[in-house]
């Protein structure tokens, strides 16, 4: 039996995991980070657009602050987010970006004077202020009142990931690559680490730790087409679920992006449409104005995705070997504009489609993009039910995004969560509670259990073909748990997935019998895990009989605060069961700083919560009163919904801005 001990085990080497590791190391704890791939190859590298932080340096972002960022985030979430978590987040994001600047991220900077930009397909001149020159600039992104998305050209995630990984090098943190956590080790509702498989040799090792953190990213690959990296398979969520103790939250909340290329699903930026590109159907007809006369192609992400799907369902899609798609036409923007402003789109078209987008249309369709749901934690990133288990980043649901995430809020969340949660983990490690009281027999049993599973997969005879099950799952998710959902399809999806889970117990690894580096074996056990994750998504969607954010039910088009202002919580109590158990966690209106309102798209069809009106009146009165008393915006906020004592002390401070200088101005 091979066992390794450490203080903190971090599973996942993306932005969230790396920043958590640096935080606990800084506090003097030992940490080991495990990852499937070298950290710099993690999916975080793919984020091109940017990171939200309310610096308010650029003239288009002047006047921005935590309050505006908070409001955008809550509205974007369709009131599903945890408002205290959102407050903690918006107050830490500026600190996160400033830290990253010091760690070497070459953020694009404000340049004083005039420059040309295109807003709503029209040329405008933006004039930047002298006093902002050289500070971090920002660009426009969907769903934000101010230009708040900071960036490094077209490689924001890449630069962030490299800077944080380099910090990890500097600190001498132990990183073990090509290692996969395949089960958690736990006893008496307390998590003590994980069973880990070496992907090169096949060896199983038990990692025992005071605190275990899951930072494994999203689960996009349960869908047949996803913008996500191929390793975003939800195994982190699965191992949490398989403890039978830890819970998952809002798994049905899945975001789709309108314009990923066909067939490979690589994203083309929103900027294509922002700059005036249009969508066309099989007849070359521009259909969006028929559906959304006002905003046309520039309606919000979820709306455009839904309209495109609707149109394809009417038989107006372009048939191809890879299924139906539509056209994105940016030829109208002209070669000069494309080569200068949409360089990255041009490269994608050349390298992956072999076409020139200045001459030819781009085949696109709405594609799975982001997982709002994940391992349910409290605001400290700790599981509500399994002590010592933490989760951060896209893997987690501490619940910043509710039912829809704003672009640019995700990479920001990963780093902020790493900063905050590493402090809570360190506090835990310094407390007596963190003592490791796991019995050797439990560790032994966990290792044996996993080894038996693997042996069974290899030695099984006349079993199921993994690929058949996998493809069936992907298809079900795409067709029945996609952009539009309805009771009938969802019911079928749940039944069919349950069947697949049943069949997956009988998988046989064919043609490749090695227990070492063996892609067929990996595919087999991951498929078993993914099926469970997929079922939590489908089942959550079936039960949620309303439409909220990205969860859109054709048979229940209204957002129903009266019955559904809550979070879906899933648990898989017994490994032999084929269905999870479900409960709901209310989101309390009485505690909200921003009571539920209208998000501002289409017709307002909200069924309101009985307490909304009262809370709104109370918030209005309090705001008026405190403002009359002459309190500043931060003090006003404090009376509405105090949160700052939830933050680690070192991050409770205010953020300096050009418009809000500290007294001892430098």
């Amino acid at each position: 039996m091979k066992v390794t001990y450490t203080d903190v085990l971090v599973i996942g080497g993306g932005l969230a995991g790396l920043r958590t590791a640096t935080g606990v190391k800084e506090r003097g704890h030992d940490v080991i980070l495990l990852t499937l791939v070298p950290p710099k190859r993690s999916h975080s590298a793919a984020a091109q657009g940017g990171m939200q932080a309310s610096l308010g340096n650029s003239v288009m972002g002047r006047g921005d602050n935590e309050d505006v960022h908070f409001e955008d985030t809550i509205k974007g979430s369709d009131w599903g987010a945890d408002q205290k978590v959102a407050r903690m987040f918006v107050n830490t994001a500026p600190k996160a970006i400033r830290e990253l600047a010091a760690w070497g991220v070459p953020w694009n900077r404000v340049k004083k004077g005039g420059r040309q930009a295109i807003i709503n397909a029209e040329k405008v001149t933006i004039t930047e202020e002298e006093d902002a020159h050289g500070l971090i600039t920002a660009r426009d992104f969907g769903g934000t009142k101010k230009w708040r998305t900071c960036y490094t050209s077209d490689g924001t995630g890449h630069s962030m990931l490299y800077a944080v990984d380099n910090k990890v090098h500097e600190q001498g943190i132990e990183v073990r690559e090509r290692m996969e956590a395949i089960a958690l080790i736990h006893e008496n509702d307390r998590c003590y680490g994980a069973v880990v498989r070496n992907l090169m040799t096949g060896e199983l090792v038990a990692y025992i730790a005071k605190a275990t953190t899951i930072a494994t990213g999203g689960y996009g690959r349960i869908y047949s087409v996803s913008t996500n990296a191929v390793i975003c398979q939800g195994t982190g969520q699965a191992i949490a679920l398989e403890t039978g103790v830890a819970t998952l939250g809002n798994m049905e909340a899945i975001q789709f992006h309108p314009t990923a290329i066909v067939p490979v699903g690589i994203l083309t930026t929103e900027g294509c449409r922002g700059d005036g590109g249009v969508l066309r159907d099989v007849d070359g007809y521009r259909f969006m104005p028929d559906y959304e006369p006002e905003k046309k192609e520039l309606a919000s992400r979820d709306v455009v995705s839904r309209r495109m799907t609707e149109h394809m369902r009417k038989g107006k899609g372009v048939p191809s070997r890879y299924g139906d798609h539509l056209w994105l036409d940016i030829t109208i923007l002209g070669r000069k504009h494309i080569e200068k402003n949409l360089r990255e789109v041009k490269e994608i078209c050349e390298n992956f489609l072999g076409i020139d987008p200045a001459e030819e249309w781009i085949p696109v369709r709405p594609t799975q993009h982001y997982s709002m749901g994940g391992i349910r934690t409290d605001h400290r990133g700790e599981s509500q039910t399994l002590k010592g288990l933490y989760s951060v980043g896209e893997a987690a649901c501490w619940d910043l995004h509710g039912f829809n995430r704003l672009g640019g809020n995700s990479v920001s969340e990963t780093v902020v969560a790493g900063m905050l949660v590493s402090e809570y983990i360190s506090d835990f490690c310094e407390s007596e509670e963190s003592a490791i009281n796991v019995s050797t027999s439990v560790i032994e049993a966990a290792l044996k259990c996993e080894q038996d599973k693997l042996d069974r997969l290899i030695n099984n005879k006349d079993g199921e073909d993994t690929y058949v099950l996998r493809r069936a799952m992907e298809k079900i998710m795409m067709e029945k748990v996609g952009i539009f959902r309805n009771g009938k399809d969802l019911k079928e999806a749940v039944d069919e997935l349950e069947q697949l889970i049943f069949r997956s117990h009988n998988i046989e690894v064919t043609r490749s019998k090695s227990l070492a580096a063996n892609p067929a074996l990996v595919n087999a056990y991951r498929t078993q895990m993914m099926l469970k994750v997929a079922l939590t998504v489908a089942y959550g969607a079936l039960l949620r009989t309303e439409s909220r954010g990205a969860h859109s039910r054709e048979d229940f088009p209204e957002r129903n605060d009266k019955e559904w202002l809550n979070r879906t919580i899933m648990r898989w109590k017994d490994p032999d069961m084929t269905m999870p158990t479900v409960s709901y966690e209310d989101i309390e209106v009485e505690e909200m700083e921003l009571p539920p309102g209208f998000r501002g798209y289409g017709k307002d069809m909200t069924i309101h919560h009985p307490k909304t009106e009262e809370r709104q009146a109370m918030v209005d009165t309090m705001r008026l009163q405190t403002e009359e008393e002459g309190l500043d915006r931060i003090e006003v906020q404090r009376t509405l919904m105090p949160y700052s004592e939830l933050l680690p002390e070192k991050y409770q401070g205010r953020n300096e801005r050009l418009d809000e200088r500290f007294d001892d101005e430098r």
């Binding site: 791939v37 500026p94 996160a96 090509r178 490979v264 048939p319």
Partner: protein, 256 residues
């Protein structure tokens, strides 16, 4: 409408047959010997080597080893020798090649099996050796306005920060074949990147310690195999030349 988009619409009319030859070897399997396996498949419109190799794994040989992560030319995982030349497999369209394709693992790196090599390990060693992080004594106060930087300088640093550690330049380098410890174009580019960055307080003497020898900038023969194969089209040639001049200056001063 155009050829490819028309192609996407068509249902497999006159699809080309392609042959993919793959150099196979798994050092973890006792008595395994290098061999070449040939797989024949029907080309699909828009087919990349990412699609083709997964197709082979799914329908022909489930044991075939290769590495893809982003499959979008971003993460640097999938470099291999494609018809003898280092490149990213995920962004290589089969339609741009002759119907018979030869794939082999990237040389010089630790072989995990078949087309899978451990570039990450090598890059980690490099980063540790060259200390590729910001060296400074200054404490950052994250509540205050950030340090200012000229917009052009930020963009210049980003241009060099774009390296994805794919290892293509290493595989294409003549020096490394002879000199195992050579840091490669990737290493020299990193030094150029930090040298440019005013946040890093190291000076040329410090950089000289790191790359002022035959395993560093003086080992490079400027044959430029590296720049030709860099998928990010980094300006390796001019950066290495500039760095060499600077390091020569330091070297001369040292002699005084």
């Amino acid at each position: 409408m155009n050829a490819l988009t028309k192609g996407l619409m068509m249902k497999d009319k006159a699809a080309r047959k392609i042959k993919i030859n793959i150099l196979r070897f798994d050092p973890n399997i006792p008595n395994d010997r290098p061999r070449i396996d040939m797989f024949e498949l029907e080309e699909a419109p828009g087919m990349t080597l990412f699609i083709a190799l997964n197709d082979i794994r799914e329908h022909h040989d489930a044991s075939l080893k290769f590495d893809f992560v982003c499959r979008a030319g971003i993460c640097g995982s999938c470099s291999m020798l494609i018809n003898g030349r280092p490149g990213l497999a995920c962004r290589t369209l089969t339609s741009t090649m002759e119907p018979e394709i030869m794939l082999a693992p990237l040389p010089l790196f630790e072989l995990i099996g078949d087309l899978s090599v451990y570039t990450g390990n090598w890059m980690r060693g490099l980063n540790e050796r060259l200390e590729t992080w910001i060296h400074t004594q200054e404490e950052v106060d994250v509540e205050r306005l950030e340090e200012r930087m000229e917009p052009e300088l930020a963009e210049e640093i980003y241009e060099l920060d774009r390296c994805i550690e794919c290892g293509c330049c290493v595989a294409g380098c003549g020096t490394i074949q002879m000199r195992e410890e050579f840091v490669g174009a990737v290493g020299l580019n990193k030094i150029a990147r930090y040298r440019l960055d005013p946040r890093d307080k190291r000076d040329d003497d410090d950089y000289y310690e790191l790359v002022g020898d035959e395993d560093g900038v003086f080992g490079c023969m400027t044959l430029l195999g590296c720049e030709d194969v860099c998928p990010k089209e980094l300006p390796l040639q001019s950066k290495i030349a500039y760095l060499r001049r600077k390091m020569v200056e330091v070297g001369l001063n040292k002699k005084d």
